[in-house]
């Protein structure tokens, strides 16, 4: 017990650094899903895409801070592709995301040339904020922490501007938003594109943090992000846009510490996915079970996405 606890404590800083980076992927899942009512899987492909784009750029000698911006831009294109497939061909959003993610796998492999590429010599973003030897986690936490705060401030401002409020209306009631003069398609392109940009940005930070890129690094990202989002929303609620925006970040921080606790307690890493899956299922299913418990009838055609 004591040993488990000391392992967990020793892992807190590295887990915190990881969870701050991954919180951008949770944000990338939250924006389409919660704000645009557009269930989107593109994050799972955009994340390794961002990693690959960043690695390729850095290997070509482009500085790290430009490489993450390139990753963001390339990720945005992936999101735009998903939105286009859905809006143009009326293909379900989930299928559109799967199509793009599938195609991105080949693209990522092409970009990298092989499945796994190390980034040892290149100067990482985190090297710019070094606090001396043995403080790698601290510089990650500080740098990404600052990025998180900046993004949170920017998004809470944006979603309270006229255009941000209009975008939220598109997700809430598209017919009404359109009748009030808003171009629904444009809002979806903007929202889904930006979200995938954040997923790719997240991938580029992760690649720099771990000093390598792997085409399979996106595997399971989505389910982890969903679990983190559920935790954040359970704690903060979704009553205001501020809470909705903070939920991915808080959720990510708590979720990855819980995972670390499970590992410290001796859970095999290979068993984590079933635990995470069961957790997401429970969070999504709980409100329904509660309703059934109260004897409310559910509409037969009401299926959760």
């Amino acid at each position: 017990m004591e040993e488990m606890f000391s392992i967990f404590v020793s892992m807190v800083p590295v887990t915190l650094a990881q969870s701050l980076i991954l919180s951008f992927a949770v944000l990338a899942v939250m924006i389409p899903f919660r704000i645009l009512a557009f269930a989107d899987l593109t994050a799972e492909g955009a994340y390794p895409l961002g990693g690959a784009a960043c690695a390729v750029a850095m290997l070509a000698g482009i500085p790290a801070y430009l490489a993450v911006l390139i990753a963001f831009a390339v990720g945005t294109l992936a999101g735009l592709a998903t939105a286009f497939i859905h809006l143009k061909f009326r293909i379900h959003t989930l299928l559109a995301g799967i199509l793009v993610t599938t195609m991105l796998y080949s693209i990522n492999l092409r970009l990298l040339g092989r499945p796994n590429v190390p980034l040892f010599r290149e100067t990482k973003l985190f090297d710019y904020v070094s606090f001396g030897p043995q403080t790698a986690n601290l510089s990650r936490i500080v740098l990404v922490g600052v990025l998180v705060v900046l993004v949170l401030i920017a998004l809470s401002y944006w979603f309270r501007t006229e255009r941000g409020i209009a975008m939220r209306a598109v997700g809430d009631n598209p017919d009404m938003a359109e009748a009030q003069g808003n171009n629904v398609n444009r809002a979806i392109y903007l929202g889904v594109g930006t979200a995938s940009g954040f997923a790719a940005f997240c991938g580029s930070l992760m690649v720099q943090s771990q000093s390598f890129v792997d085409v399979n690094m996106g595997l399971g990202l989505l389910i982890n992000a969903l679990a983190a989002l559920m935790i954040g929303e359970t704690i903060l609620g979704r009553r205001s846009i501020g809470r909705q925006l903070a939920a991915p970040f808080l959720g990510s921080i708590i979720y990855y510490q819980l995972i670390s606790l499970c590992l410290a307690a001796g859970l095999a890493p290979s068993d984590l996915k079933i635990a995470t899956g069961a957790f997401v299922l429970l969070m999504l299913g709980l409100p329904i079970l509660r309703k059934q418990g109260r004897g409310e009838r559910l509409a037969a055609d009401k299926v959760r996405e």
Binding site: A166, N173, D175, A179, N182
Partner: protein, 259 residues
């Protein structure tokens, strides 16, 4: 203000289910006209409003609003001219957003949403005043989510939102039909006051003949996608429920005779 010429729209064309919903519909409204639209179920009233708002494109014909040919314009561009309240109170508002946010969306209907703070203190004060005319106490609940309001409150909010910015054309599709009689009377009263005060050009669909007799300056009767009657001026003032139902019964007799 509104000119519809030879509007045609057929559903399921070329199939056994073919249904001509608008069949060469032609009429126009002058600025300030308040027309009550009547007609039996399936006459094409909702289809006509959908065609005007842009929710439905015509197969042929033209629609002009305020001198603008809008025939091929998408809904969000026509929003500059047109505001609408639906029968279903859920349709006209964004449930997950607050009353103030919904009103902001309505205010922005005629302009472009910009990258500046939405709910300023000045705006909220204005919304509070506009809501106070409803006397429902909504003015004290600006930051309440619309999903928490009753159907009647939501429909009243939809109405206030629709008349914000004095649209060139106001479309009301049986907008009190889903409400209980007392709430329906309240929403109708608010509608009449707003249309009167702002001199809004209005099309109001109703199945209530008494409303057609009592309100507005014109009665349009639709039948099988055509304009069957256009009653204005002295004739409108002289119309009674009996004289209107006569027109319905003529049709029914003919239907009974198999004509």
């Amino acid at each position: 203000m509104l000119r519809i010429e030879n509007a045609r729209r057929t559903f399921f064309a070329g199939t056994p289910d073919e249904k001509v919903a608008l069949d060469g519909l032609t009429f126009s409204l002058d600025r300030g006209d308040f027309a009550i639209v009547i007609g039996s179920n399936g006459a094409g009233k909702s289809t006509m409003l959908n065609a005007i708002s842009g929710a439905l494109m015509l197969d042929s014909g033209t629609i002009e609003i305020a001198g603008d040919n809008v025939t091929r314009m998408p809904v969000h561009q026509r929003a500059r001219h047109v505001a609408r309240v639906f029968q279903d109170p859920m349709k006209g508002t964004a449930a997950g957003m607050t009353i103030a946010e919904n009103m902001l969306l309505a205010e922005l209907r005629q302009s472009r949403a910009r990258l500046r703070p939405g709910l300023t203190t000045a705006r909220k004060a204005r919304y509070r005043e506009q809501l106070s005319y409803l006397k429902l106490g909504l003015e004290d609940r600006l930051d309440t989510q619309v999903s928490l309001l009753s159907g009647g409150q939501r429909q009243s909010l939809s109405l206030i939102m629709a008349v914000m910015g004095e649209p060139d054309l106001l479309l009301l599709d049986e907008h009190t039909a889903a409400l209980d009689p007392r709430t329906a009377a309240l929403v109708l009263g608010a509608t009449l006051r707003a249309v009167e005060a702002l001199k809004l050009t209005t099309l109001m669909v109703s199945h209530n003949m008494q409303h057609a007799v009592d309100y507005g300056n014109r009665i349009l009767m639709l039948d099988h996608g055509k304009l069957k009657l256009d009653i204005t001026g002295d004739e409108k003032r002289a119309s009674t429920v009996a004289s209107l139902t006569d027109h319905f019964s003529v049709k029914t007799d003919r239907m009974l005779l198999g004509g």
